[in-house]
């Protein structure tokens, strides 16, 4: 018996991607009696405010991650190579801790009797209501997913040939021009994968909104969880919601990839 390495890929994909996807599709388009129906998909429309909120919060935290992550990644790439590994490791360090624990820690920081408000009240500022707001949810997402933004951008920036930048400088380009004409276009592939890696988990997260959002900031993830572990066991509606979410994510990845390709084309042309 000869087993090609690609066979492993096919077996793996069939078992853990294709079959589960087929199950989601099957459940989304059937009723509990197993008959075909579109009701589940139509019913998803009733939760559109939750979808909008999730997309909005997910997009917001992705933008914030990008604004924080890009300069950080750039700074790390500028540091002496000796220290770069340590700096990258420090970025990853919180990820070695359990995700729940990290979020839980934020709860005690943001609470009305938490660390921040204790400090504020000791210097005479009225306590702020930080926890149980959508801002706290965004903070939780940014904190948890920031490493996924920094790492791909960093790994692209360190690979940029220093000679190109030097050439631009020799030809009289200022700092700003070097950034906007050389550095930024060349790091777009990293930005794209960073955005995808942050936006996808952010839009489908569920425990952050529960712990930091006080239970009244329901996101899509919470809604899906409710269909499986809630009061009524309804895998059909749950699958339909997941399906719509997957389509949304698919389209947004498609959009991102378009930008990616156009940047590569530009590179190609500028090199020739």
């Amino acid at each position: 018996m000869k087993l090609k390495p690609s066979a492993i890929y096919i077996i793996w994909m069939t078992l853990f991607t294709l079959i589960p996807m087929a199950l989601v599709l099957y459940f989304a388009f059937t009723n509990p009696m197993g008959k075909f129906t579109l009701d589940n998909i139509i019913n998803v429309g009733r939760y559109s405010s939750i979808f909008l909120k999730s997309i909005w919060l997910g997009a917001l935290s992705t933008i914030i991650c990008l604004l924080i992550g890009y300069p950080l990644a750039y700074m790390i790439s500028k540091v002496n190579t000796k220290y770069q590994n340590i700096m990258v490791m420090l970025i990853m360090l919180p990820m070695w801790m359990n995700f729940l624990l990290r979020t839980y820690a934020w709860m005690t920081i943001l609470e009305n009797n938490g660390i921040i408000n204790n400090i504020l009240s000791s210097i005479g500022i009225a306590p702020l209501s930080l926890i149980n707001t959508s801002g706290a949810v965004v903070l939780g997402m940014v904190y948890n997913f920031l490493p996924y933004m920094i790492l791909p951008i960093y790994s692209i920036i360190v690979k940029i040939d220093k000679k190109i930048i030097e050439a631009a400088q020799d030809l009289g380009a200022g700092k700003r021009k070097v950034f906007s004409k050389i550095l930024l276009p060349l790091s777009i592939p990293g930005i794209i994968s960073g955005i995808t890696m942050v936006f996808v988990p952010a839009v489908s997260t569920f425990i952050i909104s529960k712990m930091l959002g006080g239970g009244s900031n329901i996101l899509i993830g919470d809604l899906i969880e409710m269909q499986f572990l809630g009061n009524s066991y309804n895998p059909h509606l749950g699958s339909a919601i997941s399906l719509v979410l997957m389509i949304l994510i698919l389209i947004s990845i498609g959009i991102m990839n378009r930008f990616d390709r156009s940047s590569i084309n530009e590179d190609y042309m500028s090199h020739h």
Binding site: Y47, Q227, L229, N231, I251, I255, N265
Partner: protein
């Protein structure tokens, strides 16, 4: 030439790696089969219970499962679940066959209705006689054919004595709607328990099959929402323990622990009505060892074993003989063993129809997203916008090249 050799070597390496992997897999499979055969005369019971819901040998208690194996030779494969719904979902998805499960009242009646439970042979459970009569033939299992009560508890109100002015006797569920405590109130993050509180305030049955009753309760919960700090479950331990919140409804079994952690916290069970829950032992229909399972249930009812369990769990026992043998402070505590009036006024959950259950979930989402604009076309619009954006990106790219 060298490259080809390298490639072949690589291929050989991968092939041998795969074959080693499969050989190991086969060996493991063989071992596990042999193991199973050798112990075929030894029964193993699959017991599925709530987390931290059996004496396990810590804190100087008896390890109940080990003791059972010692006395009967029947081995126990013990696993735990977090909610009745998780238990139900697990049983629906199949895979594992359980022999003993311990769901709560309403889940038991749901499982009875769906034919998921097996009728018990009470001749094999003589210790059932220790269960108090008030816990037999409850509304979730009217003829008491399927279940043997394990523990019970009530829902009461935790309050911080330093933040709440009212004295204990005047506290009822109305305090959860008192504007004075805006932002200091915690609420169940569990639709059934949250709705029950609104229903008790409105004087409705918590098992109502009238759709309007549920809509009315949802309106009450929407009115309460601006006062609620957050909707939580076990997080009340932290939030009440750290004086973050002043008032929270929760289960009586958690009272001793929370009151020990923060001495400012009191617990009161509303006399004029609350909900009472019973967790009871049942045998699923597809159990492979029903007689051994009945022996296990019988063992769990044995007063000396039940005392060990109750001491560990902290909830209340449906056996008077167990209650009598507990420490006087627990035995006489109104939290663990409320007076008859309170218990009589307390309602028990039974199962609801699928329509009502879906309605509850919908209403619960509407309570939580109250004030948000919920237009179904908004979602369609968003998807269209996404597609449009994609097309724009394609056109932009084409134009550029």
């Amino acid at each position: 030439m060298k490259k080809l050799g390298e490639k072949l070597l690589k291929k050989k390496f991968i092939m041998s790696f795969i074959s080693i992997f499969f050989v190991i897999l086969l060996i493991l499979l063989g071992i596990s089969l042999a193991f199973k055969n050798s112990s075929s005369n030894n029964i193993t019971l699959n017991v599925y219970n709530w987390g931290e819901y059996i004496a396990d040998g810590t804190d100087g208690t008896l390890n109940v499962n080990e003791e059972f194996t010692k006395q009967t030779g029947i081995r126990i494969n013990y696993s735990t679940f977090q909610s009745n719904e998780a238990l139900y979902a697990k049983m629906q998805s199949g895979g594992t066959k359980y022999d003993v499960i311990i769901p709560s009242d309403y889940m038991i009646s749901k499982m009875i209705n769906q034919g998921m439970l097996r009728e018990l042979n009470y001749n094999n459970i003589p210790n059932f006689s220790f269960i108090d009569d008030t816990f037999k033939n409850s509304n979730y299992d009217p003829e008491n054919k399927y279940s043997v009560p394990y523990t019970f508890g009530t829902v009461g109100i935790f309050y911080n004595k330093k933040m709440v002015q009212e004295n204990e006797d005047s506290i009822s569920f109305n305090i959860l709607w008192d504007k004075k405590y805006t932002g200091k109130i915690l609420m169940f993050d569990n639709p059934r328990d949250a709705f029950a509180i609104a229903q008790i305030r409105l004087g409705l049955s918590v098992n109502s099959d009238n759709v309007n009753d549920w809509y009315r309760s949802a309106e009450e919960l929407k009115k309460q929402k601006p006062l609620v700090q957050s909707y939580v479950m076990d997080q009340i331990f932290d939030k009440m323990g750290n004086n973050e919140a002043a008032i929270a409804p929760y289960y009586s079994g958690d009272a001793p622990l929370l009151m020990k952690r923060n001495p400012d916290i009191g617990f009161v069970i509303p006399k004029d009505g609350t909900t009472k829950f019973v967790d009871a032992m049942c045998i699923p229909k597809d159990s492979e060892h029903p007689e051994a399972a009945e022996a296990y249930i019988n063992f769990m009812c044995r007063p000396d074993i039940a005392i060990e369990n109750i001491k560990y769990i902290g909830y209340s026992s449906p056996e008077s003989i167990v209650k009598e043998n507990l420490d006087p402070e627990v035995k006489n505590s109104k939290i663990c063993y409320p007076d008859e009036e309170t218990l009589n006024n307390a309602q028990t959950f039974t199962s609801l129809t699928n329509e009502i259950n879906s309605l509850i979930d919908d209403l619960w989402v509407s309570v939580k997203t109250d004030g948000d604009n919920n237009n179904p076309f908004a979602l369609v619009l968003v998807i269209l916008m996404f597609v449009l954006l994609y097309l724009l990106a394609v056109i932009y790219q084409k134009k550029k090249s």
